[in-house]
């Protein structure tokens, strides 16, 4: 099969699975997950074939695998859609294929397949456990199967379809379609347990917040289309087109932006929403309300990666007009927002106790890294970090899900009322859940950039080296500091969760999760380590050059001009070593002796700052005051009271009043006197006449006869008289 055809077919299996499960196999849980996994496997296989063919093809960046079809007629021309496989999309397919497949597999174990039905489980609520009796007649509470098991696989199937569509598409329009499908799916999946009020709030929040970004992105797409009449990458990335866009001033000449700058900024705002950058980051932590595989899906494999993928894809446009290493306005914006988000989210993660929320903020922070990297022009480093992050963050999320699952098992076993997601209720899990521990440790070390053997180190080091090498000092210092905090909170998380002694009975009774959950962890852990070795700078001392820097060569070739590999410099390396190891050590030292019920040492160390961090800089509250409540107020005052109740209802009432008074007049002056009057007159008249005439009805035959005689005589006289007068 040709690569182009393969790329066309790639998104199809998950979509078919979605339709099939929804329509036919919703009742059959085992069958539903079987076809879902098969579809993920097919798409994975297709992705791998495409990836392998892509790395074997010379000059793929200049001659990507592409094919187009006509879609919508636009006058004389056609709006074309198609597929586009260049090194960047091939590399993205690589991590999407793997992580999606792993997440599908993991979901089987996570949703307790093979466990009995719950005693009181309801659709739309988390399973609460089932009581089973063993052979001795002892009753145990064990985890119960998710009531909406098949539905979950249908949704993540649609989600995977959205992501594959986005990656293989050759134009911004189908990219946007995939983008929005994922928006819908994140809404459906975050609110998967829709009977929980918090889940409902989170789903709406996620949908509305990303929608803010999407509107701007759509504006950018529309502007781009009106400027060059095409949305295909092949048209957009032509040097002539980019030059024209860079030289045309934007509509209205806002801030002296060029058309390219304006479009780039608008598209980037889409990414701010999708990849949860400040100030639209608020939805992502709340999205933790969904099942954990969904968190992994949203925060690692697909949705947030899609945002970064889009800006990396649009990099030629974003950087159009840049000369002599000067940053264009969109790039400037990206580096500012990215760096700020990186440090901002990292500090919040310090004060979170929920194991998944820490990861959520670390995701925001790491996405900030990528955005900042792209902002300073570190194209390859950003893409490299995107890929490695997808793997280790999927690993961490799935690992945290495994931890929660294990602790939940303990909670059900002991019947304690503790939050199975609070890290302060854990501890000592390394002995209970060894596979989860090792893999989580690998993921955590990769996240904090543990030197030399984790993938995260190499990608993060490359970003720092780039920032240093091109003299972006502010970005460099901020990112380095963020890396330090990242290492610290990661070690805090690992120490609180796995090291030390169990702080609750539940943690003491935690259990390793089934193989469907641990196998994905092991596979992802392999990538979290091994992937970095293909991106080692060739000038790196001692080990540089043993494996060529494939990542740089491959992904760099996507661009028209291959970015130059940076000369090696010792300082960023030293900094990244110091911050990673320093953060890890400090985190371990602070939390290694955490006792049951003791408060977080950070509360003492940071004082009021801790409260500020704990409450996420009060962004939720601020947005509530600035946007949510005014929106409610406006909708209540203007829409409800003035427009709806005042104008619309007023108009209706006015018409009703007129109709009612016209009706009243007709009734009082026509219907009642004339129509009714005539009817009554006839009836009453007949009645009156009858009443008056009844006295002659005596019932006596002879009187009747007399009357007849009298009348007969009268008639006779009348005729005789008239006859005589003639």
């Amino acid at each position: 099969m040709s690569t182009e055809l393969l790329a066309w077919l790639l998104p199809l299996p998950p979509l078919l699975v979605f339709i099939f499960i929804i329509l036919f196999t919703n009742r059959y849980k085992a069958f539903s997950h079987s076809i879902a996994i098969s579809a993920a496997l097919l798409s994975w296989l297709g992705s791998m074939v495409i990836f392998i063919r892509a790395i074997q093809t010379e000059h793929l960046g200049a001659n990507p695998f592409t094919s187009t079809i006509n879609w919508i007629p636009t006058g004389d021309t056609w709006l074309q859609i198609g597929v586009w496989i260049d090194p960047l999309s091939a590399a993205t397919l690589f991590f999407v294929g793997w992580t999606v497949l792993m997440i599908f597999l993991y979901s089987i174990g996570y949703h307790n397949f093979g466990q009995p039905q719950g005693d009181h489980d309801q659709k739309g609520l988390q399973p609460h456990g089932a009581t089973v009796a063993d052979e001795h007649g002892h009753k145990h509470i064990v985890p119960s199967i998710e009531p909406m098991y098949s539905r979950f696989f249908a949704f993540i199937g649609l989600f995977a379809f959205g992501m594959y569509t986005l990656v293989v598409s050759d134009n911004l329009l189908t990219l946007f379609v995939g983008w929005e499908i994922m928006g819908l799916c994140s809404y459906l999946l975050i609110g998967f347990w829709y009977q929980k009020p918090t889940a409902r709030a989170a789903m709406i929040k996620a949908f509305l917040t990303t929608r803010v970004g999407d509107v701007f992105m759509l504006l950018g797409i529309a502007y781009l289309y009106s400027s060059i009449g095409s949305l295909s990458y092949s048209d957009i990335f032509k040097p002539e087109t980019l030059q024209i866009l860079a030289e045309t001033p934007a509509i209205g000449g806002i801030l002296g932006l060029s058309a390219a700058g304006m479009i780039g900024t608008l598209l980037f705002i889409g990414t701010i929403g999708k990849s949860a950058q400040w100030p639209l980051h608020v939805w992502l932590p709340d999205a933790m309300e969904g099942p954990t595989p969904v968190s992994a899906m949203i925060h690692a494999a697909t949705m947030v990666s899609a945002g970064v993928y889009m800006v990396i894809r649009m990099f030629p446009l974003l950087s159009a007009g840049s000369e002599h290493g000067l940053l264009t306005p969109p790039m400037m914006l990206m580096s500012v927002i990215g760096a700020f988000t990186a440090i901002f989210a990292a500090t919040i993660a310090l004060a979170q106790n929920d194991i998944k929320r820490v990861l959520a903020y670390s995701t925001i922070s790491q996405l900030g890294y990528m955005i900042a990297a792209l902002g300073i022009g570190a194209y390859v480093a950003a893409a490299f970090h995107l890929i490695t992050h997808a793997f280790f963050k999927a690993l961490l999320f799935l690992g945290s899900g495994s931890v929660i699952h294990g602790v939940e098992h303990g909670v059900l076993h002991t019947g304690e009322h503790v939050d199975p997601q609070d890290m302060f209720n854990m501890g000592g899990l390394r002995k209970k859940m060894p596979i989860t521990f090792i893999t989580f440790l690998i993921g955590g070390l990769a996240l904090s950039g543990f030197p030399l053997f984790t993938a995260g180190f190499w990608s993060k080091d490359e970003i720092l080296a780039d920032a240093f090498g091109h003299g972006h000092w502010v970005v460099f210092i901020i990112l380095a500091f963020a890396a330090f905090i990242t290492a610290f909170y990661t070690m805090r998380q690992i120490t609180l969760t796995f090291l030390g002694e169990s702080r609750t009975e539940s943690a003491h009774h935690a259990q390793e999760t089934p193989w469907t959950m641990t196998l994905p962890l092991i596979i992802l852990a392999v990538f979290a380590i091994g992937l970095g070795w293909f991106g080692i700078s060739e000038e790196f001392p001692v080990i540089g050059g043993i494996i060529p820097n494939y990542v740089h060569e491959f992904i760099g070739s996507t661009l028209e001009e291959m970015p130059e590999a940076l000369p090696f410099n010792i300082w960023p390396l030293v900094v990244s070593l110091v911050v990673a190891l320093g953060g890890l050590t400090l985190g371990w030292l602070v939390y290694r002796n955490q006792k049951e019920g003791a408060e977080d040492p950070l509360i003492v160390a940071l004082g009021p700052v801790h409260t500020l961090l704990k409450n996420k800089y009060y962004f939720d509250e601020i947005y509530d005051r600035i946007f949510v409540r005014p929106a409610y107020w406006i909708s209540d005052t203007f829409t409800n009271q003035i427009l709806d109740q005042g104008i619309i209802d007023g108009l209706l009432h006015f018409i009703a009043r007129i109709a009612s008074s016209v009706g009243g007049i007709l009734r009082n002056y026509f219907d009642k006197p004339i129509v009714n009057g005539f009817g009554d007159f006839v009836g009453e008249g007949v009645k009156k006449v009858g009443r008056n005439l009844k006295i002659i009805q005596t019932g006596r035959v002879q009187q009747y006869l007399i009357m007849a005689l009298v009348l007969a005589f009268g008639a006779m006289f009348y005729f005789v008289f008239t006859f005589l007068q003639r």
Partner: protein, 102 residues
């Protein structure tokens, strides 16, 4: 030959007697008898006019016979009604039979 007017006077007297009987008698049977008298006075008129005015035709005789038949039927129905009322109310006084009063 007796002039026609005698017959007419006789018939008129008979009619008046019958009418008087119908109007003043209480007994229903007597009222019925009065009606018979009135019908027969009409018959006398018919026959008299036929005999004096149109002896060749048969219309007068035919009418007289029809009146007989009607009278016979009327008596049959009338007597049956009176018997029926008598059985029910043990009276044949016309004034007491006022079921048709309003």
């Amino acid at each position: 030959m007796i002039p026609l007017s005698w017959y007419l006077i006789f018939a008129a007297s008979l009619f008046c007697i019958g009418l008087y009987g119908v109007l003043v008698r209480k007994n229903a049977i007597a009222i019925l008898l009065g009606i018979e008298l009135m019908l027969n006075s009409v018959n006398i008129n018919l026959i008299a006019f036929w005999r004096y005015r149109d002896p060749e035709g048969i219309a007068g005789q035919a009418f007289a016979i029809i009146v007989f038949a009607v009278a016979a039927a009327e008596v049959a129905v009338g007597l049956a009604l009176i018997i029926s009322i008598y059985r029910r109310r043990a009276t044949v006084v016309a004034d007491d039979i006022n079921l048709m009063k309003w």
